[in-house]
């Protein structure tokens, strides 16, 4: 489904700040895989997301989706395969536009946008139904400006917008990290449910070790631009946070250092 082969990325080449962000990364996701990604600060998790989504282009290697090489396509052309939720709840929605307008933009993801009216009665009914599945009452506020919603509500809407058109690949970049624990838990539950129901091929970066173990069918660990550990479904079922941390220390030779790490 998604395949990265020997992808490398260098930051600030030729300057004193030169840094290898990704080093020779190869990764293959099968259809329906839900992979969680953990790693310390600067491990390259966000760079990995940016390379897949097209915000950055790799200096070496290839990215393929369904066999097609997409590594040189600009970000906006990849959106027909990729749905994304960002860490910042403000990033995934347009604040001065209404909930239904935001959904209409998500609905036309990756399609040619023409001069057809964006909100038609058929679409509105569908948006309402999709919103009601979130179970947080947004279906009654179709014409409210998104800027008036709380961070949790905006993130739930972002999640819906990224998923309801069933993208081939769903990228979640620490999408619960900026929320308080109660709201983060709600978004986590919604994510789990939506990914299962739609059987989406998903890559999720998280700082929450417990979440990384509980969600998905595969866990990969990154350090200094490399994938240092790939844990399959079988092992993941019995894995504990302590074991995971110990394993990290053993392979990388240092403690998992991250000021935001949540152990569970």
């Amino acid at each position: 489904m998604l395949e990265l082969s020997r992808v490398s990325k260098l930051f600030n080449p030729g300057t004193p700040d030169e840094k290898i962000a990704l080093h020779d990364i190869s990764l293959k996701l099968n259809p329906g895989d839900f992979v969680t990604v953990i790693g310390s600060n600067g491990a390259g998790k966000s760079t990995l997301m940016n390379i897949i989504s097209g915000v950055m282009k790799p200096d070496a290697g290839e990215v393929r989706i369904e066999g097609a090489v997409i590594s040189q396509l600009p970000e906006f052309r990849r959106s027909r395969w990729i749905g994304r939720v960002f860490q910042d709840p403000m990033a995934g929605t347009a604040p001065h536009m209404t909930i239904e307008e935001n959904l209409a933009m998500a609905y036309t993801r990756g399609k040619q946008r023409g001069l057809g009216l964006s909100i038609k009665s058929g679409r509105r009914a569908m948006f309402k139904e999709e919103l009601s599945k979130l179970g947080i009452g947004l279906e009654g506020r179709l014409r409210a400006k998104v800027g008036l919603l709380s961070g949790g509500e905006r993130q739930a809407l972002s999640l819906l917008m990224a998923t309801f058109t069933k993208p081939q690949i769903l990228l979640l970049d620490e999408h619960t990290a900026a929320l308080d624990p109660a709201r983060a838990e709600l978004i986590t539950r919604l994510t789990d449910r939506i990914v299962r129901e739609l059987n989406l091929t998903t890559l999720m970066v998280t700082h929450n070790m417990e979440q990384a173990i509980r969600l998905g069918n595969r866990l990969i660990m990154m350090d200094k631009g490399r994938i240092i550990l790939d844990i399959n479904e079988q092992r993941k079922k019995t894995l504990t946070v302590e074991e995971l941390l110990a394993e990290f220390e053993q392979i990388s030779g240092h403690k998992l250092s991250d000021d935001r790490v949540v152990l569970g």
């Binding site: 989504s53 600009p74 970000e75 906006f76 052309r77 959106s79 027909r80 990729i82 994304r84 960002f86 403000m90 990033a91 995934g92 929605t93 347009a94 604040p95 001065h96 536009m97 307008e101 209409a104 933009m105 998500a106 036309t108 993801r109 990756g110 399609k111 946008r113 023409g114 001069l115 057809g116 009216l117 964006s118 909100i119 947080i136 709380s150 949790g152 509500e153 917008m161 308080d180 109660a182 709201r183 709600l186």
Partner: protein, 307 residues
Amino acid sequence: MLDSLLGALELGLLYSLMALGVYITYRILDFPDLTVDGSFTTGGGIAAVMITHGYNPWLASLAAFGGGLLAGICTGLLHTKGKINALLSGIIMMIALYSINMRIMGKPNTSLLGESTVFSSVNAFITMPIAVILILLLLNLFLRTDLGLALRATGDNARMIRSFGANTDTTTVLGVSLANGLVALSGALVAQQSGFADISMGIGMIVIGLASVIIGEAIFGATNVIHTTISVVLGAIVYRIVVALALRVEWLDTSDLKLITAIIVIIALVLPTARRALRQKQLAKRRTEELSSQLGSRTSRTVGGDF
């Protein structure tokens, strides 16, 4: 008095199309576009030259709109493909257009006296309201299409709309182009109404446009796009009324107009920010006192909580 008010209404309607153009760039795209000072004259120049060469004044106005579209495309491309700062792109085009406008007109001033214009057969008080309402309708319809939403999102959250597959370079160029088309059309109509096109007719247009947008939003409100566009048109009319009143003050000269406009814009820009800051400060102070008195009586308390 009534005469000057009616005159202000007429001018306001003529300039409201320019104000709508400024609204598209400044508010929707968040792109402070200074091309306006040049493209307004481009519109006036194209219309004047075509009319003096015997073309139909409606066709001349349409061509002026097209000229504005082209000017806007250039500014948009400078910014998106040339990666030049938005303000600078506009300034560069504004200067370039001065020479281009001179080439179009061939001389600094083209008179339209005795020529047939769009206002010759039908009075401007009938033509302009119909034209403005029609353009308001078309603009609002466009801003509600899928493409229109992508254009609005480009100014609201470019990163988000890119992640949903819109080419924000294209939408930016489209928006700046459309805005300058309206500005040039406004220039064409102003030239026909005043009976001449002049190389300096566009000077200060951007500030007048901003004044109209800000005055309109402040007085008539801006809850959504339809509401705001109507407010902007009304703002352009109010601006002309303020100018007409200012001109009745004995010790003010016509040349003081630009200074008055600048002062109106400064007040309109500074006042809301200062007021908001003051209100925020007061609110923070009050809430801090409330919260600390509550926390004093209880040791712990959950804040927020519910989704």
